[in-house]
């Protein structure tokens, strides 16, 4: 039970990271940015490439610094990349339709989402790829006794398409003796250093995600409440014409909002893929939809609402099927968690469209 609750909260924290971007963008231009999930996916892919190819974890520093640094690098790349993609998308696709009405803008957003998904398929293939596990690098000379776990080396493979792919090759099995003969063999094969995979502890990843949310929430709160740009965002979201009369360049403010929302989603993207162990071009679709539901549950347009909504949805997705399984003996309950999320969305929309923390705004007739 506690385990399910913690899982739910960690998942909810990831939803919250994505929901923040939805809610900020909706707040400022009243657009359900369907492509937000694709910014998230793009960030996750960048993080994937950094973890797999950049080799930050090979830095000759005491453990666990190299591993931590590699994740910091992955998160930075993911956030900046997702932010940049969001800014470009806003400029090319959303600015031209900003005055064309909400429905036209929403259709455009749906199209952008599909286009980005399919471009990602073109670029990186449709198949899911394993998200790299943390690697601990060891000098061949330092090996002693028996191998505590499988040892791997990196092997670069050229595929028929001409692209270079890095593969993990097992060079020593767990428990095998690491005698001089083995060391000599490894060196002869060119393996100066080998690594072992550090198993990802679920408790750790959960803790990390929740901690990240705990750190990010006040930063965002500060950015939006206290900084000049944050105040301008709130001003534009309330009355963009009045904001223009203050000398606010609303295009810049909107671009920053997209950047900030996608930046945070990039963090969520890496966290999500680390938790699930894989990444694919469709990675963004379902979490994106879920995050939108979270934003609606919390009250779209409200930043604390997005965080609360994310946590509520994550917990509900974990605890409701748990209750159904334990209480009613329905074994397949977990397969239905996505349907539960959508049903929750419809219920919220029908009975309390302003969400938990949203303010009631009368639609203009």
């Amino acid at each position: 039970m506690l385990d399910y609750l913690l899982n739910g909260l960690a998942l909810g924290a990831i939803f919250a990271f994505i929901a923040l971007g939805y809610t900020m963008v909706y707040g400022i231009i009243k657009l359900i940015n369907f492509a937000h999930g694709e910014f998230f996916m793009f960030g996750a892919f960048l993080g994937f490439f950094v973890l797999r190819d950049l080799g930050v974890e090979r830095l000759p520093l005491p453990q666990p610094l190299p591993i931590l640094l590699s994740y910091v690098a992955a998160l930075t790349a993911a956030s900046l990349g997702a932010g940049a993609l969001a800014v470009v998308t806003e400029r090319i696709a959303y600015r031209p339709v900003r005055r064309a009405g909400r429905i036209a803008a929403l259709i455009t957003a749906v199209c952008v989402s599909l286009i980005l998904q399919n471009l990602a398929i073109k670029a990186w293939g449709a198949k899911p790829q394993a998200y790299p596990q943390p690697r601990e690098w060891i000098d061949t000379d330092d090996l002693a006794g028996a191998a505590p776990a499988n040892l791997y080396a990196v092997k670069r493979v050229e595929t028929t398409g001409g692209e270079v792919v890095e593969n993990e090759v097992r060079v020593v099995e767990a428990g095998a003796a690491l005698d001089d003969a083995t060391r000599a063999r490894l060196r002869a094969e060119g393996h100066e250093r080998v690594y072992r995979q550090v198993p990802l502890d679920r408790g750790w990843t959960r803790g990390f995600v929740l901690l990240a949310l705990l750190l990010w929430a006040p930063v965002l709160w500060f950015l939006v409440k206290r900084t000049r740009m944050g105040k301008a965002m709130r001003a534009v979201s309330e009355d963009s014409d009045a904001a223009r009369l203050m000398g606010i360049d609303i295009n810049r403010v909107i671009a920053w909002t997209f950047f900030l929302g996608a930046f945070v989603a990039g963090v969520g993207g890496v966290a999500y893929c680390v938790s699930y162990g894989k990444v694919e071009p469709l990675t963004g679709f379902l979490p994106g939809m879920k995050a939108f539901i979270a934003a609606v549950i919390g009250g779209i347009g409200s930043i604390p609402g997005a965080i609360l909504g994310g946590l509520v949805l994550g917990t509900a997705e974990s605890l409701i099927p748990y209750a159904l399984r334990e209480g009613l003996g329905w074994e397949a309950a977990f397969a239905w968690k996505d349907a539960i999320a959508f049903a929750l969305l419809i219920l919220i929309l029908v009975f309390r469209p302003t969400g938990i923390l949203g303010r009631a705004v009368r639609e203009k007739v």
Partner: protein
């Protein structure tokens, strides 16, 4: 020769099915002005309802089973439309869009998780070839027969919708779409008008689903994903929101482009997935009224005849 004929027959049948989907989506989105993004859900409901009956009433004669399963498809989809329609129609604009999209996804998740012996689950299921009793083969005669049935269904649907839109309830619906508040002040019950449109639209989408299942001989949840929804949207945006004849042209353009591209090498064909959302986005920006706008082909012919020279 026969291969070429089969290709074009297949293309036309698919155009017909998309026409049914498009006219019914258009009734809801175009004429009734509700932004509905869950049409793939009704389509799936119809397809699965027809499949279920066909699997479970195998003792009936084929053609009878075919007709009954289509009727059931319409009924189930219409009930789906009613169930989702009543609570959601109080919502407006993008909220309605998201709620109906949620519905479409729920349908897909439901069939995906259904027990394998019930609806085939995520692997899909075969649909017994009940029309085989008439055509003996699934080649040319089968496609000809299906094409004839689909054509009749399209003609019937367009005729029914056209007459509906000219009738009093139809006029009420158009009034509600124009200005809900004003229509309400005139004593029109907006929710009733909208639910009616929703039920009619979903029934026809269900019919399209039934025809599709029988034609394909097998269905799986991936046939009814959100991409298909966006494709239907492209059809009605190309044809013009609110134009019935536009739907036929739009369906032809979209399906023909897709299928002709599919004959190209894979490297080119796969760009279709990028191309069609791009076309839709460009249409929305540069010609949101579509090719026909709200006009019908018959209006244009009339105008052209009347014009001197």
């Amino acid at each position: 020769m026969s291969g070429e004929l089969l290709f074009w027959l297949n293309l036309l049948v698919t155009v017909g099915i998309y026409t049914l989907l498009a006219v019914s989506l258009n009734l809801i989105n175009g004429h009734a002005g509700m932004f509905h993004l869950g049409h793939h859900g009704f389509w799936a409901l119809g397809a699965y309802a027809a499949t279920w009956l066909t699997l479970n009433a195998a003792s009936l004669p084929g053609p009878l089973l075919y007709v009954l399963s289509l009727l059931l498809a319409m009924a189930v989809a219409a009930i789906g439309g009613l169930t989702i329609g009543i609570p959601c129609l109080r919502l407006r604009g993008d909220y309605l869009a998201i709620a109906t999209l949620g519905f479409g996804e729920i349908v897909r998740i439901a069939v995906q998780n259904s027990p394998h012996d019930f609806l085939g689950g995520s692997l899909g299921t075969k649909v017994p070839r009940v029309l085989m009793e008439v055509t003996r083969t699934t080649q040319v005669p089968f496609r000809f027969l299906t094409l004839a049935i689909v054509a009749v269904a399209c003609a019937a649907a367009i005729l029914v919708f056209r007459n509906f839109l000219r009738s009093l309830p139809g006029r009420r619906l158009l009034a509600v779409a124009q200005d809900e508040t004003a229509a309400g002040l005139l004593g029109i019950d907006p929710t009733r008008s909208k639910v009616l449109a929703f039920v009619m639209g979903s029934a026809v989408a269900g019919l399209a689903g039934g025809l599709y299942a029988h034609y394909m001989g097998g269905i799986n949840p991936l046939n009814f994903n959100f991409m298909e929804m966006v494709k239907m949207f492209l059809v009605i945006v190309l044809g013009g929101m609110g134009s019935l004849s536009g739907c036929v042209i739009g369906a032809f353009l979209v399906v023909a482009t897709e299928q002709l591209l599919n004959r190209a090498p894979e490297a080119i064909a796969s760009w279709w997935q990028v191309l069609f959302p791009l076309i839709l986005a460009l249409m929305i920006v540069f010609r949101p009224q579509g090719i026909f706008g709200r006009k019908e082909i018959t209006d244009m012919i009339r105008a052209w005849r009347r014009s001197p020279a």
